[in-house]
């Protein structure tokens, strides 16, 4: 008998990444990320060549990021039921938690990597310094949105167990939330972005006239914008993790 693989988790992460990089749609995903960033160049206001440009195309970025994330996570989780991938993986000497965590970790890494790289083009296009703190704040909001959508997609995938249904339901759920609340509500992706971006802008650029949010952002709005997606991700992914590792049946 072979000994249990101590590095199984990392091998699964690499496998998942390689699997994802071999996806025929990957080039489209990269193109979508670049497009999402470049779309701001069509803005009628033009560039201001300062940190304010980082927030110009946020709505488009979040919209495309949400769709891409829903698609990839649904493909990886819900799709693995239909294709039989999960059944095959669970026949190898790997633990269920290793499969679950490696999928979540690898996909988040890939999507964040693609979007962060594409978003970094902003620095070049808008002649913004690499040391601009608002660039990193923007990346943080992208990461939060990614985690939030990841949790929703994985949760829906486990219930639907159908790739197509999971994509549609997850997207409609998140898109519905975005449209059901006010612009600055913590339940909407743009609300969270403007609260976090605006709050940090008030601190890092106190005298600036650039306003992402129409009114000054309060500390409560700022913390709520961070806590809501994080809490959703922890609760949903936690519940799914317990189900995946202890209860889930694959037939």
């Amino acid at each position: 008998m072979n000994k249990p693989a101590p590095k199984t988790f990392f091998r699964l992460v690499l496998w998942e990444i390689e699997n994802c990089l071999n996806l025929p749609v990957l080039s489209l995903i990269v193109a979508s990320a670049i497009l999402a960033v470049l779309v701001q160049s069509t803005s009628i206001t033009g560039f201001t060549h300062n940190y304010g440009d980082l927030s110009t195309g946020a709505r488009t970025i979040f919209l495309i990021l949400t769709f891409v994330t829903c698609t990839l996570f649904s493909h990886s989780f819900a799709g693995s039921f239909g294709r039989g991938d999960l059944k095959r993986m669970l026949s190898y000497p790997v633990k269920r938690w290793q499969i679950f965590i490696s999928k979540v970790f690898a996909l988040n890494l890939i999507i964040f990597g693609i979007y962060a790289s594409a978003y970094a083009m902003n620095l070049y296009i808008n002649a913004i310094s690499l040391l601009e703190p608002m660039f990193y704040v923007s990346l943080f909001t992208i990461f939060l949105q990614l985690l939030f959508v990841c949790a929703i997609s994985v949760g829906v995938s486990m219930i639907a167990k159908s790739e197509l249904i999971s994509i549609v339901v997850s997207f409609l759920l998140i898109f519905g939330l975005d449209n059901a609340f006010n612009f600055d509500a913590i339940f909407t992706s743009m609300g969270r972005f403007s609260n976090i971006f605006g709050y940090f802008a008030q601190i890092t650029h106190p005298g600036s006239l650039i306003r992402v949010s129409p009114v000054p952002v309060t500390f409560e709005q700022f913390t709520g914008s961070i806590v809501f997606p994080l809490l959703t991700a922890v609760v949903v992914l936690g519940l799914v993790f317990v189900y995946f590792t202890r209860k889930m049946e694959v037939d």
Partner: protein, 312 residues
């Protein structure tokens, strides 16, 4: 059978019950599978794949016990899978990977030390050396199955479970695959559990057989014992005029069923002693030449028909 499951058998189940909603899939299934090549037979929907799912720890049974190598299938699934190789019915392999790349990934999960050498050997064994660098999505059905066999055997398992290994492949591909299974068993001593409904495949390689129907074991045992058991009631008669002879036979109460196959008469009897004494008499009365009269060595198909067919 109590809590302790013996190590004499590689697989043991006791009164397994599994329902999906209100639909029963397994109905107190009890079976024991020894080392060697075993066949797992049943018609579509009889519960074969569900049983395999329970054995692999993919499905939790509502009631009963299932163990492999003496370990509980649900609680010790990980430990069991270290000694196990599985080939599922679906060809769920990453299509964009080459066979070698895919097997390399699998080999790493089994912590195999000499990966390249092991894969070379295995690819050679399953006749895939020529296609090792081609993307899996370009493979034919037979190549998919052989790749499935290779990945199932990669970890040098004690037992390999093959679900419908010969489904959807051409006759030559089937023969080759079965030959490979037989060779692997002889070469490495790997035990096999082959689930299929293609009976002729099993007849060629199995030494043990489990027949299930409607989620329940109908019969199980070594092929030789089963053949003897079911053949004991079947007799083959060769006479000069079978049609005339069969008319007379139908009047005998010692016979349950009589049929002609290739000019030979087959009888399923309920009282062999009376039957054997009556046959020469009938032939003599009808003045027919009795060319042959012997017990028929039942084929797997006959065993299956008698066990599952009778229940219909």
């Amino acid at each position: 059978m109590g809590g302790a499951l013996t190590e004499e058998f590689v697989v043991e189940t006791f009164n397994l019950v599994k329902t999906f909603g209100k639909i029963p899939a397994l109905n107190e299934l009890t079976m024991q599978i020894p080392k060697g090549i075993s066949g797992f037979v049943g018609k579509n929907g009889s519960g074969k794949t569900t049983t395999i799912g329970v054995l692999l720890g993919l499905i939790k049974a509502n009631k009963g016990q299932a163990s492999m190598f003496g370990l509980d299938c649900w609680k010790n699934s990980f430990e069991i899978r270290q000694k196990l190789g599985v080939m599922h019915e679906t060809n769920a392999y990453p299509g964009s990977f080459s066979a070698r790349r895919f097997l390399t990934h699998v080999a790493k999960l089994y912590s195999i030390t000499q990966i390249d050498q092991t894969i070379d050997e295995l690819l050679n064994d399953v006749d895939l050396t020529h296609a090792q660098d081609k993307p899996i999505k370009t493979f034919s059905a037979g190549m998919f199955k052989r790749l499935g066999l290779a990945q199932a055997l990669l970890g040098n398992p004690e037992l390999a479970i093959l679900d419908e290994p010969t489904a959807n492949i051409d006759p030559l591909g089937r023969i080759t695959l079965l030959q490979k299974i037989k060779e692997m068993h002889a070469k490495k001593g790997t035990s096999f559990l082959i689930s299929t409904h293609i009976l002729s495949d099993l007849e060629k390689i199995c030494n043990y057989l489990i027949i299930i129907d409607q989620g329940k074991t109908v019969d199980q045992g070594y092929m030789s014992n089963l053949t003897e058991k079911y053949s004991a009631k079947i007799y083959k008669i060769e006479v000069s005029n079978p049609q005339q002879f069969i008319t007379a036979l139908q009047k005998l109460t010692a016979i349950d069923k009589v049929w002609i196959d290739n000019g030979k008469i087959f009888c399923k009897v309920n009282d062999p002693e009376v039957f054997c004494s009556e046959i020469p008499k009938i032939a003599s009365e009808l003045k027919l030449q009795l060319k042959g009269f012997q017990q028929s060595l039942g084929s797997l198909e006959e065993i299956y028909t008698q066990t599952v067919g009778e229940k219909r």
